[in-house]
């Protein structure tokens, strides 16, 4: 009898890579399915619980459920559930690209002070009605948040461009930014009227409950504008993780790519934050989940980060309704409480030495 060793024969090179690609597409499909299931749960839970079957019917066959179910699912809960998805995706993509260009696994809008800056910008409007640009009242909060976030991003960018700055100094500067803007935010709260204070405090906790379709479309529009730029640069962005010298030797204009990415990232981070408040850890954890599952080839890493971020926030939205029955917790609190243990377990079980 001939012994066969096919099982022991490891595939290498291109043959193996083909399997890798297939496995990744499978994982992406899995993430997408999990996200869909989470959205359905998100739509079924609330003051009035709706069976999952009716949720799916209300979504795809609106004629087959009662008007009441249809209104609750499509008009009341869907904007919130959809907002969780786009906000989660935007924050995770922002985090993924910050980690990529700064070559640092600790980078995210939250840890580098971009969220805190946006929060400070928003609080100026909420507490005193102070705006940086003279714009219509309806968009004052997002515009202010965005400008502050962009300023923070630019400061980090400029400092990171100085000679001698390394990834550690950038993270330390980011922490300095977090503390500065949090102190400024506390100052605003101290000086605000009780009415303004309530608005600021609620905003900083992060909440999806005020989601509306127009807000959803604005965040979606940002994704639609920014994503194609990142998609086109997938190979260059992946190369950035090989180090500046290596990326430059591939013909990539490192400084320019970093600046442009930083601007796009501040857009991705600031706009969602300006609508739903401070939601931490999605931007940090989402990319790490994607990296562990799928690696850092941006062609897969980018969609995986977006899906992981969307899934995290959608699942947090579900948790925010179920942790305390009868109350909807602010989602910013839930993402941190649920996200941190999950993140710590990911880091401690990371056997691939990815960071």
């Amino acid at each position: 009898m001939k012994l066969r060793h096919i099982k022991n024969q490891e595939l290498i090179g291109g043959q193996h890579y083909r399997h890798v690609v297939r496995r990744r597409l499978f994982l992406l499909a899995g993430l997408g399915t999990a996200l869909f299931v989470s959205i359905c749960f998100d739509l079924s839970l609330g003051p009035a619980s709706i069976p999952l079957v009716d949720v799916v019917r209300a979504l795809f066959l609106p004629g087959t459920v009662t008007d009441q179910v249809s209104v609750v699912v499509r008009d009341i809960r869907l904007p919130v559930a959809a907002m969780a998805v786009v906000v989660g995706a935007a924050l995770a993509i922002a985090g993924a690209q910050m980690q990529t260009i700064l070559n640092n696994p600790l980078a995210s809008p939250f840890t580098l002070g971009i969220s805190a800056a946006a929060g400070f910008g928003a609080s100026l409007v909420l507490a005193f009605g102070i705006t940086v640009l003279p714009v219509a009242a309806a968009i004052m909060v997002p515009v202010n948040a965005f400008i502050m976030a962009m300023l923070a991003a630019l400061v980090i960018h400029m400092l990171s461009m100085r000679r001698g700055a390394n990834t550690q100094t950038i993270v330390l500067l980011g922490i300095a930014m977090v503390f500065s803007f949090n102190a400024l935010l506390a100052l605003v709260q101290f000086l605000a009227s009780s009415e303004g204070l309530a608005a600021v405090v609620f905003w900083t906790m992060g909440s999806l409950t005020k989601a509306t379709w127009p807000k959803f479309f604005v965040v979606s529009a940002i994704l639609v504008i920014v994503l194609p730029v990142f998609i086109r640069r997938a190979w260059a962005m992946t190369a950035m993780r090989m180090g500046d010298d290596k990326a430059a030797s591939f013909g990539i204009r490192v400084g320019r790519l970093r600046l442009e990415t930083m601007l796009l990232v501040s857009l991705l981070a600031a706009i969602p934050v300006s609508f739903v408040g401070t939601i931490g850890f999605v931007g940090l954890v989402g990319p790490h989940i994607a990296r562990l599952m799928i690696g850092e080839d941006q062609r897969f890493f980018l969609p995986a980060s977006a899906l992981a971020g969307a899934l995290l926030l959608s699942a947090s939205s579900v948790a925010s309704k179920t942790l305390i029955s009868g109350a909807i917790l602010p989602i910013g609190i839930v993402t941190s409480l649920v996200g941190i243990p999950f993140f710590v377990s990911l880091v401690l079980t990371n056997s691939k030495k990815l960071w």
């Binding site: 690609v21 090989m242 290596k246 591939f250 990296r291 690696g295």
Partner: protein
């Protein structure tokens, strides 16, 4: 055919002049050029200046008539000094991404074959599934060389390509570089520390010290006992070995600590 001439080139980093007035060449495809010199002499900066990553005075005259279609770069590839990375990419992907720079999303059969061939050429095909973060310094060095070769360069600038390689790997790589240069009319310039390697593998040698060109020309003419004394500050002899090759034998540093 590639022709590379350095015409009084210099470079500054901040306010400090790191390179000045270096003229050499013309070098042609098929030449293997060693760049030698003490630590911090400006060798890396010279490479960066040649491939345009650093600006400065003077002129790098680089003539290359591209006959191969689909080339996405100017034919010059620079391999920086060895750096370790911790990125979630396999060796295969690290080389593939070098191949695909400037290209589209789709990875074609041809792309994969090119990557396979390059890995095989460097003897690291068996590493292709390994995460680059797990590689040893020497393995990473081979991946870096693969990342340059996969782009089908006409001029290859290698900054200390053998610094982390063991004896046999380092000779394999140097011999491979020399044969690639001769076979494909590739111009290869590499920074090396071991002068015996230089004597064996390089046609021309440039000696850089304190940012200036101290000597340049055919390797046998450049590496002399006087140079070892003046530039490297060592007592050394150049003697023929039993195989008839000239070898550098170092007896000690001029200024010894003990």
């Amino acid at each position: 055919m590639v022709v590379l001439t350095l015409d009084q080139i210099g470079a500054r980093l901040g306010k400090k002049t790191v390179l000045s007035n270096i003229s050499a060449g013309p070098f042609r495809g098929g030449d293997v050029i060693a760049v030698v010199g003490p630590n911090a002499a400006g060798k890396s900066t010279l490479f960066k200046r040649i491939c345009g990553l650093v600006n400065g005075q003077g002129h790098v005259d680089y003539q290359y008539h591209d006959t191969s279609p689909g080339s996405s770069h100017d034919g010059m590839c620079y391999v920086p000094q060895n750096t370790m990375v911790s990125v979630a990419l396999s060796v295969y992907e690290a080389v593939l991404l070098a191949k695909k720079q400037g290209g589209d999303w789709h990875v074609s059969q041809q792309d994969m074959e090119t990557v396979d061939q390059t890995l095989n050429l460097l003897g690291i095909l068996d590493l292709s599934n390994r995460p680059v973060g797990e590689l040893s310094g020497g393995q990473m060095q081979l991946v870096s060389i693969a990342q340059a070769l996969v782009r089908d360069p006409r001029v290859l600038l290698l900054d200390e390509p053998t610094s982390a390689l063991d004896l046999s790997r380092s000779h394999q790589i140097l011999a491979l570089m020399r044969s690639l240069a001769k076979k494909h009319d590739m111009l290869i310039m590499m920074a090396l520390h071991d002068l015996n390697d230089v004597l064996r593998y390089a046609d021309h040698t440039l000696v850089i010290a304190n940012g200036a060109l101290v000597a340049g020309g055919a390797t046998q003419d450049v590496i002399t006992e006087a140079l070892l004394h003046d530039v490297y500050q060592v007592r050394a002899r150049l003697e023929p070995c039993s195989a008839g090759q000239t070898r550098v034998i170092v007896d000690g540093a001029l200024n010894e600590y003990v």
